[in-house]
Structures are given as structure tokens and as C-alpha cells.
Amino acid sequence: MEKYTLEAFERYPMVRCRPEETRDLEPDRFVFRTVSAPEAEKQGMFLLEVRRESLQQMAALCSLPQAVGFTIVPGESDDAFLETAVRAMGEKRYIVPVSDCAQIRWAREKGVLGGLLVEIRDNPLDACEQMAVQELQKMYRKVPVFVRNCGTGHSEAYARQWHASMVENMPGTCAGWRIALRRITYPRAVTSGGFAPMRFWWTNRGPAFVHEQTSVRLRLRMGEETIELPLADSPDQIGLGDRVYNEIVRMPDLPPGTYAMEYGLFGENGDSLMLCHAGRSGDGYYPAGMLCVDDIPRPEYEHIWDDYYADGYYPLVDPPVPGT
């Protein structure tokens, strides 16, 4: 039986690092305000609301990084104006109100639909029906959903149902993403200039996808020196739930020793994303244990993931019942 034990199954001595999780570090990160006049206060993130008469003024605000997108108020939506407005707002995301079927249809046809704006008024079921009629139920997988509470009722459950990326006037509502690195697996020792197989398990507990390209970064640190490790297969999009992937990191030539390993998740503009962990460094990295680098050759690590699934061990012996 010994050859079927966990110890025998693990062909290579591996480290399983499970970073401790924290919750809700940024309660305001997924909150937006609708701004319809250029003189509006510009704290926090905001959605530019475009009307025919304010188009030029709103377009002038597009360069502000706090402007997360723009929306065109329903009723302003003849095709010519939509065309003009979308052009004037440049690269900003076009967040289309689901209550305006004509605008949704136009944005889909033109391929410019950059997000959905769901407004909850007296009855949230009106918005549910609008989503259903236009078959927008799965759109959260492609573009962010902005939920604005225009009434006074409780509508948190609907924001979650629609996978809201951002919410307005909904304090305490869970929106956006909550990302944690649940576990990282790597060998206890790797070879300088060789290969370092890594397995990442990420979880997004929030209701929304991350709607920007992301990249994982990994680095080693010893004293004041840091060495970035190149990653080839890090996911460029993060959806809901778990995301597991494997890497074979090509190690640079390094002096033998024990290095602190650190990871981070970065957006397309290079900003680090806040993860649900403690221990964040000033430049957005988190600790992930220690990695020993030596000069012992391990060529087998280059193809380790082809036929070795380190978590696939199947216990053949029932252990004692827990709690006895």
C-alpha cells in the first residue's frame, strides 16, 4: 500500500503556500456616482451622463481617470446623435441603459456596447424584465454591469443577481470582484537557470468579472534585491469562482540561497489590484513563502505538468473518523 500513499504520490517535494485571506479591503472601490454636469464634484469614480446639450462638456471630462465610462440618457437616442456621442467620448466605456431597447440594439449592432446600466426604480422586476426581453442575462461575462438605485427600496439581491461591477446609491451592497490567491504550489528547491513549476489557485468571490486585462507577477526578493520572474501563462481575464493554472517559470541565473517569493495581480495600466490578503507591499506585492535556489540540475521540471497532477492523489485508506 505504501506506494499509493500521499508521500509516494508526490514525486517532487512541493510547498503549498496558502496566503491568509482578509475581506472587503476597499468598500468604496465598486461605487460610482452619475455626473451630469461638468461642475460636479469629482471625488470618487463617476459615470458621465451625456445629454445632447452637454456632449462637449462631458467629452472634456473623458480624460479624467475617475470617469469609468459614459452613458447616454434614454430619449436622446436617434442614431445620428449616438454616433456623434460615441465618437466624441473616445475610448471611454459606453454604458448603455437597459431600459432603452433602441440604444441597446444600436450599440450591439455597432459593436460598441461597453457595459450595461440597470436602473432600479419603483419595482426591480421592471429591470429584470428588461434584461430578459433583450436577452442580456449573460452579458455580465463580457462587459461590466452598473446598477443604479433610483428608488428607496432594498435591492442588494438584484445587484448580486445581475453581477454588478459597480453600484450607485446602494450602501453595503456587494459589487465587483474579491480576489484571493488561495494557494500556490511550487517545489521546495529549484535550479538557478532551470525551471520552476508553479500552480496557482485564484478565487474571485465577488459577483462580477474583472473587465480589464490582468497579469500575475511573481518576484523573488533577497535583501534589497528583487528579481522579476517571467510568467507565460497567467490569465488575462478573471471570471467568477476558481481559476487554476500551471506555469513553468524559466528561472534566471541567481546566486544560490533562500529567496522570499512575492506575487501580485496587475491591471492593464500597470496598477496593482488590491487582493483579499494582508501583507501588501507598497508596490502591490504579497508574500508567498520562501523558495530555495540551488545548482542541482532538475531537467524533469520542464515538463512536470504534462503527466503529474499533484493534487490528484486518491486516498486508498480511510483515516479515523474526525472528531473521535
Binding site: M1, Y4, L6, R16, R18, L125, C128, E129, M131, A132, V133, Q137, K138, R160, Q161, W162, H163, R182, R183, R199, W201, T203, G241, D242, R243, V244, Y245, N246, Y309, D311, G312, Y313, Y314, P315, L316, P319, P320, V321, P322, G323, T324
Partner: protein
Amino acid sequence: MSIWQWTREPDISDALLSNPGIGFICAPGLMGDPEEVHDNRGEIVEKYRFAPSQKTWNHPDSGLSYAGGAWRDIEKEEGCYDWSGFDAKLERAGRLGCNAIVRIMPYSLTVDIPSWLRERFPEDPEYPFWRIDPNTTDYAELWARFVRAFAARYDGHPLISSVDMAMCGAWGEGAGSEFVEQEKLEKIVLAYCEGFRRTPMQCLLHDPVSVGLIRRHRQDIGFRVDCLGDMGGFHGKTWNHMQDFYPVNIENFDMHDTWEKGPVVFEACWHMNDWYRAGWDIDYIIDESLKWHISSYNSKQTTVPEAWKEQVAGWVRKMGYRLELRRIRAGSENRCVQVEMLWCNTGAAPCYQAYPIVLRLENAEGTRFFRLEEDIRKWLPDEDHLVRAATGELCPGTYTLSAGIDTGVRELGMLQLAIQGRDGEGFYPMGTVRVE
């Protein structure tokens, strides 16, 4: 002018529902009126119910059962099949108002392969969870032949919720399937995939070789695992099912989105009461299972610790599908009743059976039923769906309109919806409609 005569928004119910194919596997041993209720260790526990109307003690009611069988009991003589014992198990599930997850196992650690096969291969193989070596015998061919016979008889059976793909290993739970020659394994995979075209299936989430082979042939097969709740009972913090095997391999075996087409089925590691005594985090276990889109949970028919009653009730409300008819409007045009319905699945998984929505129209002259074409299997969690329907032509008059979802199976009846107002026939009366 609008054709609509009214719009209704039924009151949503937070009741625990018992519907086919989902929830806890039912526990007949905890039903009735026992003087005492014992936990899995034989200790007397305080009796309680999840709701006064429930018929099971210390365990939620259910619309799902389990029916298992052993190869040696069915194919006692080579090529001759006696299904009577297995039929009786399905009938028993039906009498409980349940459909059943089914599995015929090739053998277990205590139940041998058929005796006619044992005579040919008297030696047990070296691998501890095998009773016959699939690589050096014709086990794969013979088991595949049996699976084809099984499928020929039971594919589409109205009382079968889904079928476990048992390929090798004790209890058919897949042990050692990564060591089986692919050609051999494929014979068994094909027997299931070609035999069961209508009944949903789930495979063991065992290893990338067998799962990859299955996925090459079918993309609509869910997965089953049998150690939900293990937070460190095997190897402490080093390795466990909840934090290592399941989360990583669901992804690594490319099974993360199979729940959209095939059921995700869990069985307890030990018993829930053992988790409780070990001090494990029930909220974590529940949340993870919901993240993986669980449809049903086999608690091995043992008690739920009363301290966890509320968490488990919340779990049952999310497990599998939970269908709300949120809004309905009705009117008439051209002597047909027109209906628009807004439905939402607030559960964690879709329904994997194509049960039809049925409209019932009643007046003094009689009752008519209209089955709609909508495929409710496409209603994924959190999605609202608008269903538009028109009845056939009706005589002028006033009709009472009711809606429901019919399993079409006498023993299962109509689905329980997450709204108030169910009548004795399982329909939900909505209002009257004038046809002129």
C-alpha cells in the same frame, strides 16, 4: 390597445422545497414517528424538524433518492440480466415521491465481481481497490457490454434523475482509472456515452486521463465526488479534499463549466455530524459547494446537527434549481389566451430535465391544459427569462388561469415553485381571463 387584462407578481416563498433531482438524498430511516432519533454514532439527539410540515426528522425532506446495484446481482449468468431487484429500488424511490440517482457498481471491497467472471480470474490484482485487473483481462469488454444493456433498458427512465458513470475501482468510484489502458477505458466510456442519450450523467472527478477521455466524447456530463466536507481528516492541513483536490481538479480537469449541462453531485466524507464534532467550518463547506454549482448532496441518511439547522436550510434553498414565477400578465386576442411570464432560477444550478411549463384554463365547461415549448434546462442561476405563450382557440367565456411545471411522472407530480399559492394539483392559480 393593450391586450393585457392584468399583471400579477406572485408572493415569493422562502420555504424549503422538495423537487426531483436536487437537494439532500432523502432519508427514509429518519421519517415516520420514531421515539428516538440517533446520530451516525448511535447517540440519541434531540428531535427537530426543518419545518413543521416536513416528514423527516433532523434532516431536510427531499425529492431525490439513490438507487444502487451490483453487477454480480444482475448478471448472475453471463449475458442474462435480472433487473427485478433494481426495478424494485426505483419503484421504492417513486413511492417516496422521488426520482433517483443511480449507479450499478462492478464490485466493491466486499462485493465481488460476478461469480462466472471470478471463476475465470480467481486472483485479485495487486492494486488494492481493484477486484479484477482491467488491463490483463476482458473486464472492460464485459463491463461495457453490461453498461450497454443497462442503458438500453433505463435510458430516459422517468424515475432516474441521473446516472453515475462507474468504470472501475471499488464501488465504481474510479480508483486506479488512471492506470487503465486508454483503449480499455474507452470501451466503457463509449458504452455510457452512446447508451445514455437522454438521461443526464455524471462522472467521477478522479483523474485527468479518464475525465479527458469522457470529455472527448461528450461535453454535457457533470461530475460526482464523494468526500464533501473533508477539511483535513486525511492529512491535516497538508492535503484535503475541500482545499486541494476539488478546487484544483475541477479546474485542472477542465470541468469548471460542465454544471451548465450536467449535474454536480456530492457525497459526504464521513458524516455531517463528524464535521461538526471536528469543528470544521460549515459555512465554508456550503459556500464552496455552491460555488461549484452543487445540485444534490448525499448525507448518507444521517442527522444534521441542530446547531447547523439554519445554515443547512439556507443551503437547501440554493442547492440545484429554485424557480420563481416573478411576474405574469394575461389577456386574450383572437379567442386565445395570451400570457407573458417572467421566471427566474434563484438556485445554484439549472434543472437538467426538460420539464414543460403547463398552463391550465378552467371554467364551468371544463379544463384545458397547454404545454409550452420553453426549455427550462437553459435557465441558468440568476437569470430571468421571459416566456410568451398563446393557448389554442377557446370558446368565449371567463377562465381561471393557473401555471405550473409538470414532471410528467405520476410519482413526482408538479414541481414546487418558490412562490405562494400552490393548489392541491400542484398548479398555481393566477387569476381569471375573459375571452371574447
